[in-house]
């Protein structure tokens, strides 16, 4: 499909570096699916749907900065939703979110709690101000917090909050790759799903730029089971826009 025109109806400042952009257009995504957001004349970048009609964006570079200049009434092009999304299962689930990794996990938390599934969230960020969607996770279940500077919750990494004894049916994780690798090393891989970040070029499963061990993040993923990622390229190297290997 060609991009559809999505008019921005509201912008919410979630943290000093993260904003949610609501659109006049709604999608029917599975939690974890993403769209390609086209900031015309600049770039097109992958973004998880944080609501049926919104993306939640951290300002990191050219395209996200250009998006931050847009407001109510402006429009962008949207393709998607694409990819597979999380597979929700079990009676008690653990969500592990680092930074803007909370974006695809928050709709999962809400879907789970609406089905009577017990949700525990481990939420991590650099500082207290950078915690994303704390209220949404608290409304869906219990929340434990870790910050890099100790301004809220434990002083350290979200991985330190993972209980030694596993009492969860499933674990869902999204955040920086180093953090996700630590989670993968600590939990039973078959129980866990991870949403991956790779450079997305075509976004429709053809070019192969986003491959991790031959699996396409944009089409076979972005969500992969821990057993697939164990002993793979994941956590070791990614590829840049040219396809060169870069250490994670």
């Amino acid at each position: 499909m060609k991009p559809v025109n999505a008019v921005i109806t509201k912008v919410v400042e979630e943290t000093p570096t993260v904003r949610t952009f609501f659109f006049d257009t709604s999608f029917k995504p599975e939690p974890g699916q993403f769209v390609m957001a086209w900031i015309r004349g600049v770039d097109e970048i992958p973004m998880a749907l944080s609501y049926n009609n919104a993306i939640t964006v951290q300002k990191v570079g050219t395209a996200t900065s250009a998006l931050f200049k847009l407001g109510e009434g402006d429009s962008i092009g949207i393709r998607g939703p694409s990819g597979n999304g999380f597979e929700l299962k079990g009676d008690h689930i653990l969500l592990i979110a680092g930074g803007v990794g909370a974006a695809p996990l928050s709709p999962l938390a809400e879907k789970a709690s609406s089905q009577g599934i017990k949700v525990t969230t481990l939420l991590g960020a650099k500082t207290k101000e950078e915690l994303v969607f704390r209220e949404r996770f608290e409304a869906a279940g219990s929340v434990m917090i870790a910050t890099d500077d100790g301004s809220e919750g434990i002083h350290g990494y979200v991985t330190q909050l993972i209980p030694e004894q596993e009492s969860y049916d499933r674990i869902y994780c999204c955040g920086p790759e180093i953090m996700m690798k630590k989670v993968l090393d600590k939990v039973e891989p078959g129980k866990a799903q991870f949403s991956l970040h790779r450079y997305i070029k075509c976004g429709i499963g053809i070019c192969g730029a986003c491959c991790v061990d031959g699996l396409r993040v944009c089409k076979d993923g972005p969500v992969f089971g821990g057993e697939v990622l164990k002993n793979s390229e994941f956590g070791v190297y990614r590829r840049n826009e040219c396809g060169e290997r870069v250490r994670v």
């Binding site: 499909m1 060609k2 991009p3 025109n5 390609m36 086209w38 015309r40 004349g41 600049v42 770039d43 097109e44 970048i45 429009s75 092009g77 393709r79 997305i200 070029k201 075509c202 976004g203 429709i204 499963g205 053809i206 070019c207 192969g208 730029a209 491959c211 061990d213 031959g214 699996l215 396409r216 089409k219 390229e233 590829r239 840049n240 826009e241 040219c242 396809g243 060169e244 290997r245």
Partner: protein, 296 residues
């Protein structure tokens, strides 16, 4: 039943992965080979790493796709390890290469170790590369001849359809010593977002692939089969076994499949099985359908 020898390469069927699709990493190439492709072609590799054009770089349009990737690639200097991984699958791995002049091609083909080389002189949207070269018969002949001096591996030349008469370029490749030609690369195209007036592709224009270009590709293959003594490898819009049979009847000794892999990663397996069933039902051999449209 479908096995053949193509420019000295032994293939279990006539179905190859086209350049630029699932071709940037060794493990993605291996995945396609493990899923039934008889040989795989890499992403086109240049002398230096290249990021490609800004996104959007590929969009679906009516009956096909438009792309302007801009030849993103990690350079041949970083690619031998990927070829080696792909070769673990046991099928031939063909390195697609591009350059701005004969020396670039010579450097790459003289260094990389691959089962064959496919010279990309046909990318429609990379300025100074690809079709900027492939529309000039003298350049095509020179570059082909240069690469032939640099390697003992078979050399295929991939042609652009964006010319008045593709036979002239095919003949130039043949004079240069090409072992086969591959036709066609994408057809120049463009799409505009009517909500804003912006061209959709980051590069503004690009190349059309998929279903829409099949009849154009069939005609190119048909003409090249008549004009050349070397084999023609057909590519453009193949998405099922009937398309593959049609190309072979037009005169393709083998075919490459690109865009259709996106929605059907097992396409090679399915097409070879269905082609075999078709030949069995018709009581035809592969050799009988090869170029059939010319013989009746």
């Amino acid at each position: 039943m479908l096995s053949l020898t193509l420019t000295g390469l032994k293939l279990k069927n006539p179905l190859l992965l086209a350049a630029g699709v699932m071709g940037t990493t060794g493990s993605s190439l291996k995945r396609i080979a493990d899923n039934g492709a008889a040989a795989v072609v890499t992403k086109s590799l240049g002398v230096e790493p290249k990021t490609g054009h800004a996104n959007p770089s590929m969009v679906e349009v009516d009956c096909g796709y438009l792309n302007a990737m801009g030849l993103p690639n990690p350079s041949y200097k970083n690619f031998q390890q990927e070829i080696d991984i792909a070769q673990d699958s046991g099928v031939p791995v063909i390195a697609s290469i591009f350059g701005g002049c004969a020396l670039d091609f010579l450097e790459i083909a003289g260094t990389l170790d691959a089962d064959a080389f496919e010279l990309n002189v046909s990318c429609p949207h990379a300025h100074g590369f690809g079709a900027d070269i492939g529309t000039d018969p003298a350049l095509v002949e020179d570059i082909t001849a240069a690469v032939k001096t640099a390697t003992d591996a078979p050399v295929w030349v991939k042609l652009t359809p964006n010319v008045t008469d593709i036979k002239i370029i095919g003949l130039a490749a043949q004079r240069g010593g090409a072992d086969a030609v591959v036709a066609i690369n994408t057809v120049r195209g463009m799409a505009i977002d009517i909500e804003s007036g912006y061209p959709v592709l980051g590069n503004r224009f690009g190349g059309l692939s998929g279903r829409a270009i099949k009849p154009a590709a069939i005609k190119c293959v048909y003409d090249l089969y008549d004009a050349l003594d070397i084999p023609v490898i057909g590519v453009g819009g193949i998405s099922d076994w009937k398309d593959a049979v049609e190309f072979i009847m037009a005169g393709a000794l083998a075919v490459e499949i690109g865009s259709a892999v996106g929605n059907n990663i097992n396409i090679f397996k399915y097409i070879s099985k269905d082609m075999e069933a078709f030949l069995a039902e018709k009581e035809w051999t592969f050799n009988e359908i090869y170029g059939m449209a010319h013989k009746i």
